[in-house]
Subunit: 703 residues, 2 copies
């Protein structure tokens, strides 16, 4: 078959032109492999179908990876012109199954496939132009504009992997088989699995900042784990090994499933692994990318984490021993004990990975890597470890919600890569996690160990001290006698809209959502929007569970657990009026309009193009509607390039320009300024250290 | 002669072992050249002589470069054990002629030369061990421990240059001529100088962060200057060209000197350039490193900036044209128009630099570099530009007062290097500045231009926003009704010492000095000590001039000029009781003792080893004396490694440890805790943004 394999670019070369060329090839190979996959869709109508209910139609993904390049390049200030603002808003968000991803199709008018194809070409031209012309300083560091390009490439590679899963879920009649992708013809009886002893050792996890390959935020930092001796399945669990569980009615017997597993069974109605197709005459076939074949009993079974765990319980009961999924650290011990590494990369000559062999699985006894088969490649392997940041974790500023929202105890790590894994996914330090009920080209191997799997405490906000600080700011007690800022602003907003309709309100830059909830006391319908999923998830959790817990810093590393509920603020009754979404104030989806009130507190000096937001905000307000802004005008180049500051600079005559003048200049054509006054707020950093700020509130009435 | 030339190490190699070897060679060559220079001192007694009144005796310099390695390695937390704490305090500070450098020899007991030689050997062993064992990640960045080693090497290279000047100022009979250093034998009639036109162009100044060579903080950032066409002396000014100025009585005629020049003449009694030695029979000889020769008329004259400017005025009067010193940007235009560069380095094959030709000057018409002679090398060239930070300037955290205290309008840039320049000094972006009355191996070339030299406004604290913030904190108005913190602490200190003697007080971590002045209302003798010269210079300036001016940030880039005087606080009368010194609280000189009060406000959580300071502080207090501490206990790894935190962590039982407990554990053996209470303070960042903190004051009485 056409070989799609490719190798990650080294960041520390000495020849900038060679690195430039390598990045160019990397970009083109990812872009074209992604498009080749979508070539499997039989005709353009299929782009508007969903592979499953919880997902966007295929057209979304087709546009998404291209808009990602532009959105991140704009955010990183590498470019300042968008290609198609509508597309870049429409295709921006909605990949993981997050409560704040707006999946309601009725809101969207999807564009034509040709328009998206054309858009993809424009993006390609733009990225290639950057690759040809951006100054290149070696090594490429996380601050470099090149990091953003590599991020876009690796992001596309993730979607190559996940889209190939979506393709396997599309009805076969919608797919056009392709010669480009060839599946393995080898199939036979399932080999008998066995247990191999892996000796105990300390494992050092995490990648160094100066590592010569691109990495996602969650890979960096360090963690040291003591791994006691354990015994692991020598091979991945094959269809043949899994079949007795299915035939014994394992999918119907609650004894093998935990609460989350039971919810999955109820919702999905699953009776067997997802890519199995039950034959009328009994028995199963297996769905591949573009065809079905008779179930190859010696290929690895593909299941989600919950099914894998159910199998382990089944096998434990059968044999009277304790089987479970391995932890992340145990898998690393297997890797260390294997021959699967070629330097920092997985060795794709002896592993079914990197599209280097087939566009499908192969028998589980094909690739022996030391004492174990398939430590790397074939299908991903679920672990019992939920993903969390290592010590020293820091989100990358251009993609601060890549990992953090998944540190929620609900996302488990998968290791080893599959036949469809490329780029970063083929590196030893790569780390990906999915919801336990999600499907990937993923299966599992079981382990038997005296030690229980080390489990992470489900401490949602422990790793995100900034979010904890905002929780305390919005839900904690008053400091220095200064009134809760979110509540105070909401009360001002309600007062200023007293004589106008109080139906729909938009809280832009809502952070952890307090002001949105407060507005809902009066408004029938409140939309809370924040740029970062890190913050949105707090409001969402409050709405769903009524309370949140976070770790508040007292002194040094010492924290205390804080719990707050909507009930204590009398906000429980009206929380149903609030919807939280993730969005970019500088490029908001069109349907966020028709509001009586738009409130943006402490937002404008954190936007990359505040004037863009301000110049269009009137379009989203009803006539006579109120725009309420607050800001301490703390302009920082980190967030807003100087050319975009609304004030805080000297004009060409040497006169100081105040930010309020900048606001007036932009807003006056559509607004009357009703009032300005100061509203103080206090953000607690530790028990002794606070930020005490005087925000200026300005209230504008749409003419 | 023995060749001492060496080339700076590239930071971006690909072979760590090769880089390690190169750094080892670089270190050894600098260390041995420095020691070879001190081998010129005839016997050990000479080490205790000063080259001139304002300088320490030679023994100080001999120890200084070695202690620098240890002090910076400790500060950067690369090592945690000192070699000789007394030496590392004694030899730490006192190089530039700063008011807070403690030059009073009566305070010091200088150790024997052999003890210092032995110390130098121990340091050499320590540094070599680090070079052999430290993990090396390429490229070396400013955060790397290797940067600190390179800093030590480059610091030693600066002292090679400046010590060779001190040697030229020592009485000849104290010097033992050496074969290692050979001077040029070539001398003749002065060639006639001429003017060469340099076309106008825009000049881009400043070095990029990723530049492949070590740089000092002041080299980074960027500045773009438009340089109009000008005419420059083709050669440096020779002794022969300078002589008529001397013979015309130029050193006695006030018309050629500005106010600062007149003060220099009065203080020094200079009648001719410094290295000229008047012969009894008339005429001059020239002092070299280790000998005197007849004044070679075609060698470049060596003068300070004030003398160079006086000559320009003389020549302007003579010829009725406007001559002046070139600006930094004009010199860069000369460099760009020349053939003096070999990549990023100056080409030492065609320039008298890097000890590659002679240990002396050569005739000014020896090295033609394009249209001009000696754009690079022979002697440094004074410019009319005072040194300032480029846009984006940031002090290096391990040496935050390398440049900032020189951004005072009193230090002018010298460019091009001399025969004694090595390492960083031979790089195109190197930037060094000295007081205008200082001597180096420095001369000048004049320019004639229609445009006046662009002069920097003398805005002392404009480039140091942190110092400006502290000035406002200590001398600005109260915010949020919170009393001035320095004054408040001083008042508490006075109250707590009411029943004990109030003679001598130490204000450790005095920052910009307000509390020291406040204590002097009551105490007879107050010592203010801070780690950074950036802060010390404010108190010193207040004491000397009675007032300070700084730029306070209002919004964004907009600032307002603030002026405060001791008089407005009623502190003028008692300011004479205060002395400010630079010092390290964790390794303070022994003579800072015998105090009735030691106050350390907001200091302990910024020390690298707070327990070291606390465990010894009782030795500096008189019996019954008071130790007054305040801290918000904001422990940050940036300042204090976790192992040294006094609290804010969980102990082995999982119990939270408060910092006050940590204080008690260390101080109890020698102190009784009298009282603890909170003292709030507010630091203004902008007109709207403040830090509002509750410091805990603890008052300890020495048993």
């Amino acid at each position: 078959m056409q070989r799609f394999h490719s190798y990650p670019v080294r960041l520390d070369g000495t020849d900038p032109q060679a690195t430039r060329d390598a990045i160019r090839n990397d970009f083109l190979s990812a872009y074209s492999l992604f498009e080749a996959l979508f070539g499997l869709l039989k005709d353009d109508n299929v782009f508007y179908r969903r592979s499953e209910r919880t997902r966007h139609p295929m057209i979304f993904y087709f546009g998404h990876t291209a808009t990602f390049f532009i959105n991140k390049l704009v955010l990183a200030k590498v470019i300042d012109k968008r290609i198609n603002p509508d597309f870049e808003s429409l295709f921006a968000i909605g990949v993981d199954e997050m409560a704040w991803d707006d999946m309601d199709s009725s809101r969207y008018e999807w564009p034509g496939v040709d328009a998206v194809r054309e858009y993809r070409t424009l993006v390609k031209t733009q990225v290639l132009e950057l690759i040809d012309t951006l100054p290149l300083q070696l090594p490429i560091t996380q601050e470099s504009p090149w990091w953003v390009i590599l991020m876009g490439i690796e992001h596309e590679r993730i979607h190559i992997e996940t889209s190939s899963v979506l393709h396997r879920q599309m009805p076969l009649e919608e797919i056009r088989p392709s010669e480009a992708f060839q599946y393995c013809n080898d199939a036979g009886l399932p080999p008998e699995n066995s247990l191999t002893v892996i000796s105990g050792a300390a494992v050092q996890l995490g990648k160094e900042r100066g590592d010569p390959y691109y990495g996602w935020d969650n890979e960096y930092g360090s963690a040291r784990m003591e791994v006691p001796e354990f015994r692991t399945a020598t091979m991945l669990v094959s269809h043949g090994e899994f079949l007795p569980f299915v035939e014994a009615g394992g999918y119907e017997d609650p004894v093998y499933w935990d609460e989350e597993g039971m919810r999955f069974l109820e919702r999905s109605g699953a009776k067997h692994p997802p890519f199995w197709v039950a034959k009328a005459a009994g028995g199963y076939r297996l769905r591949l990318l573009d065809r079905e074949i008779d179930l190859p009993m010696d290929w690895p079974v593909e299941v989600n984490c919950l099914e894998a765990q159910a199998f382990c319980r089944f096998k434990s009961v059968q044999e009277g021993r304790a089987y479970r999924l391995p932890t992340e650290a145990e898998w690393v011990r297997m890797l260390e004990s294997s021959t699967a590494l070629a330097g920092e990369r997985f060795d794709d000559t002896n592993a079914n990975i990197n599209w280097n062999h087939f566009a499908s699985s192969v028998p589980v006894n094909t690739f022996l890597q030391g004492g174990l088969y398939d430590v790397v490649g074939n299908v991903w392997q679920w672990t019992s470890s939920t993903i969390d940041g290592y010590t020293g974790f820091e989100p990358h500023p251009v993609y601060d919600d890549f990992s953090l929202p998944t540190f929620d105890g609900k996302h488990n790590l998968i290791k080893g890569g599959s036949w469809a894994s490329t780029g970063n996914e083929t590196l030893r330090h790569s780390r990906y996690a999915f919801r336990r009920h999600f499907y990937q080209h993923a299966g599992f191997r079981y382990v038997e160990a005296d030690a229980p799997a080390e489990s992470m405490p489900e401490n949602i906000y422990e790793t995100d001290s900034l979010v904890a600080q905002y929780c305390e700011f919005q839900y904690g007690p008053d400091c220095f006698g200064v009134k809760n800022f979110a509540r105070n602003c909401a009360e001002h907003a309600v007062a200023f809209t007293a004589s106008t309709p109080q139906k729909r309100a938009l809280d832009l830059g809502c952070a952890t959502g307090r002001a949105s909830f407060e507005l809902a006391r009066v408004f029938d319908d409140v939309t809370g929007i924040d740029f970062s999923a890190r913050f949105i998830q707090v409001g969402t959790a409050l709405k769903a569970q009524g309370q949140i817990a976070y770790e508040r810093v007292e002194e040094g590393d010492v924290t205390t657990r804080q719990i707050h509920s909507l009930e204590e603020f009398g906000l429980k009754e009206t929380a149903g009026n609030v919807q939280f979404w993730q969005g970019d104030a500088c490029n908001l989806k069109a349907h966020f309009s028709g509001y009586d009130l738009i409130m943006a507190t402490n937002l404008i000096d954190r936007l990359y193009e505040p004037e863009r937001f301000l110049a269009q905000v009137h379009e989203r307000l009803n006539d006579g509607g109120i725009l309420l802004l607050t800001s301490p005008y703390t302009w920082l180049e980190e967030y807003t390039q100087k050319a975009h500051w609304l004030g805080g600079y000297y004009d060409e005559n040497g006169e100081a320009v105040e930010s309020l003048s900048g606001l007036k200049a932009i807003l006056s054509p559509h607004f009357e300024l009703l009032e300005t006054f100061d509203v103080p707020f206090v953000i607690r950093e530790t028990a002794r250290k606070y930020q005490h700020t005087l925000s200026q509130m300005s209230v504008w009435k749409k003419r």
